[in-house]
């Protein structure tokens, strides 16, 4: 990708050259479930070994949406953030995160190559973080309602009305990309090349599709619990979901299954990034290295329910298969979340694309 990086402040443009003394503490901003120190469940703990190893005390703040993370990073209170693709570029652009010197991170080696140097974690080949885990937004369905597995997203778009009131969708502007993925396959005339790079017309088409969809939506979801409940009770029978939710539902003996439809899908690949105003850069580098280490990475991604960032990590997990870890084919069907910006990501220069703000207000319009 080519990003202007206009907002980056000069001072932190350069990655750290070498490591120094550990500061004794580090402050993390992370998705819930990414940083567990055993306080919620004594058996879930990969922070304590880190603290013992490095002497860096860890404080954590969790966020619910990428946008919240973005906001919180502006405070400069956090050294490290786990950013999804819909936040990472904005963080870079705002100069809130610094490039990382991967040489200082031994575990960077083992990470899947297809996760490295991507539009959502690097700018002009300069890495701004270390990939953590990734996953796909899957189509979940109720096996009673769908005796044969659907193969297309049309069950939540063009055929959504068949299950009116029982369809769900992810509650975020970034969900517009899901519609774009669907349109890419079904409305080739629109010429969508990249679901995160939509011009006005393409966005309008996606919005129309979503507005139609809304009439059939029972509710939008953004947290596990809501989704799990809805599928267990049958309030929802079809919609986007995550592998981890399917795992939970299996535990509940709910009649659900997930599939990656033929159109492909969106997904996330999260990246650990270091704040440009980090007060504890050495501990931050230590964390980035630690969380990329097979054992820690396995623990964290397994708990959260996503594929790990390296093959080595799979040795510590039994469920790598379910998440298609390392399956490059599978991974290639995923359009990882990235931030839509005016400069089209697909390389078009004759039009300006719609940016995230436009998506946000479009999303509010859609929900009405």
């Amino acid at each position: 990708g080519t990003s202007s990086g206009s907002g980056a402040s000069g001072a932190s443009d350069e990655p750290m050259a070498e490591l120094g003394e550990m500061e004794g503490q580090v402050s993390l901003l992370a998705w819930p479930g990414y940083v567990e120190d055993g306080t919620n469940d004594p058996s879930v703990d990969w922070v304590t070994p880190f603290v013992e190893e490095t002497g860096c005390k860890v404080t954590t703040k969790t966020f619910g949406t990428s946008d919240e993370a973005l906001n919180l990073m502006k405070t400069g209170d956090y050294d490290v953030v786990s950013a999804s693709g819909d936040a990472s570029l904005r963080l870079v652009a705002a100069g809130d995160v610094a490039p990382v010197n991967t040489d200082l991170i031994p575990n960077y080696e083992g990470i899947y190559p297809f996760l490295k140097d991507q539009a959502w974690n690097s700018v002009d080949g300069v890495p701004y973080g270390v990939p953590h885990g990734y996953g796909a937004n899957l189509l979940m369905y109720n096996t009673d309602e769908f005796p044969t597995a659907p193969t297309s997203w049309d069950v939540v778009f063009d055929k959504a009305s068949e299950h009116a009131g029982k369809v769900t969708a992810y509650d975020s502007p970034i969900y517009i990309a899901d519609a774009a993925v669907y349109l890419m396959a079904h409305e080739p005339d629109l010429g969508i090349e990249n679901p995160y790079s939509l011009d006005e017309e393409q966005l309008a088409a996606a919005v129309d599709l979503l507005k139609t969809q809304r009439e059939s939506i029972g509710e939008y979801w953004s947290d596990y619990l809501k989704e799990v409940q809805a599928f267990t009770t049958g309030d929802t029978v079809v919609g986007t979901s995550w592998q981890v939710i399917q795992n939970v539902l299996e535990g509940e003996a709910a009649k659900t299954a997930v599939v990656l439809p033929e159109e492909g899908t969106t997904g996330w690949s999260d990246t650990w990034m270091i704040s440009s105003k980090a007060k504890n850069p050495n501990c931050a580098y230590a964390w980035l290295d630690y969380i990329a280490s097979p054992e820690a990475n396995a623990a964290a991604t397994s708990y959260f329910g996503e594929a790990p960032s390296s093959d080595a990590a799979c040795e510590y997990r039994e469920d790598c298969e379910a998440y298609h870890a390392g399956d490059e084919d599978y991974a290639s069907q995923i359009w990882y979340w990235s931030t839509p910006i005016e400069e089209c990501l697909d390389g078009r220069t004759d039009v300006t694309c719609t940016d995230y703000a436009a998506w946000t207000s479009a999303w509010q319009e859609i929900k009405g």
């Binding site: 819930p32 919620n40 969790t62 405070t75 596990y224 959260f304």
Partner: protein, 266 residues
């Protein structure tokens, strides 16, 4: 009023039904805390004591409770002082702007929490440049808790008049002695009632807290919210809620006893 028997019975039945309905969701929570389902599905597929065990081992939950208690205690204390001062000023003096001040006290509770939240967030971070912390939460909570103390204390002052204080001064006690020996003991139950409500308000506040809590400050509602986004934790939250309800009966009961039946409950 001596209502006719049918009227009394009807009223009693209506009250019982409404209160019954009020307790249905709480019952659901209670049942869920024993449910094997992690998704709080109904009816529970099976019963287990696992969550109760886990909840009491959950250091995070305990920490969150402690943080909440800490925040609630400090902000209640601040609200008690500020609320009492304002009540005295407004009840004992007549001055220009009195009405404006009483409106000002009500405003933080009357305006939606999200507005208070973003206003304070913006104020602390961008204007004052102070990092969010537990203290910013305390400041925010104290602000909207003032009103509960204010209302209780001013109602008491209104009813009580200045007689006892005059009697004390008359017998030779200075301003401070009078407050310590006469005024304060008279206000105690009003302060208790107001303080209890302030505590409850702060303890369960989530919206303003979301916007004013610094990193690592996890109050109980935030902990619960986080757990909604975290797999396999939901029933622990039910356990916490059940425990809170049970524990809360004690202070409410004490406050009731102290304030007497004819007393102001708010």
């Amino acid at each position: 009023m001596r209502l006719s028997r049918p009227a009394r019975v009807t009223l009693g039945v209506i009250t019982a039904i409404i209160l019954g309905v009020v307790y249905v969701p709480l019952l659901v929570v209670l049942v869920n805390s024993f449910s094997t389902s992690t998704a709080l599905t109904w009816p529970p597929p099976g019963f287990t004591l696992e969550w109760w065990g886990k909840a009491f081992q959950s250091a995070g939950a305990l920490d969150a409770v402690l943080t909440s208690v800490q925040v609630a205690v400090i902000s209640t204390a601040i609200a008690l002082v500020l609320g009492t001062l304002i009540s005295f000023a407004l009840q004992r003096f007549d001055f220009f702007g009195r009405e404006a001040i009483s409106l000002l006290v009500i405003l933080p509770i009357a305006l939606p929490g999200i507005i208070t939240g973003i206003a304070l967030n913006n104020f602390f971070r961008t204007i004052m440049g102070v990092p969010l912390s537990i203290w910013t939460v305390v400041i925010a909570h104290a602000t909207f808790c003032i009103v509960t103390v204010f209302n209780n204390v001013i109602a008491r002052l209104r009813r009580q008049g200045t007689n006892l204080e005059e009697a004390s001064a008359d017998l030779g006690a200075g301003v401070w002695t009078t407050f310590r020996l006469v005024t304060f003991p008279q206000l105690r139950s009003a302060l208790l009632a107001g303080g209890l409500l302030a505590f409850a308000l702060s303890f369960d506040e989530i919206i303003v807290t979301t916007f004013t809590a610094g990193s690592g400050v996890t109050t109980l509602p935030i902990f619960i919210l986080n757990n909604m986004f975290r797999p396999n934790q939901a029933p622990i939250v039910s356990v916490i809620a059940v425990v809170l309800v049970l524990v809360s009966i004690i202070p409410i009961y004490i406050a009731q006893r102290l304030s007497g039946p004819a007393d102001q409950k708010r």
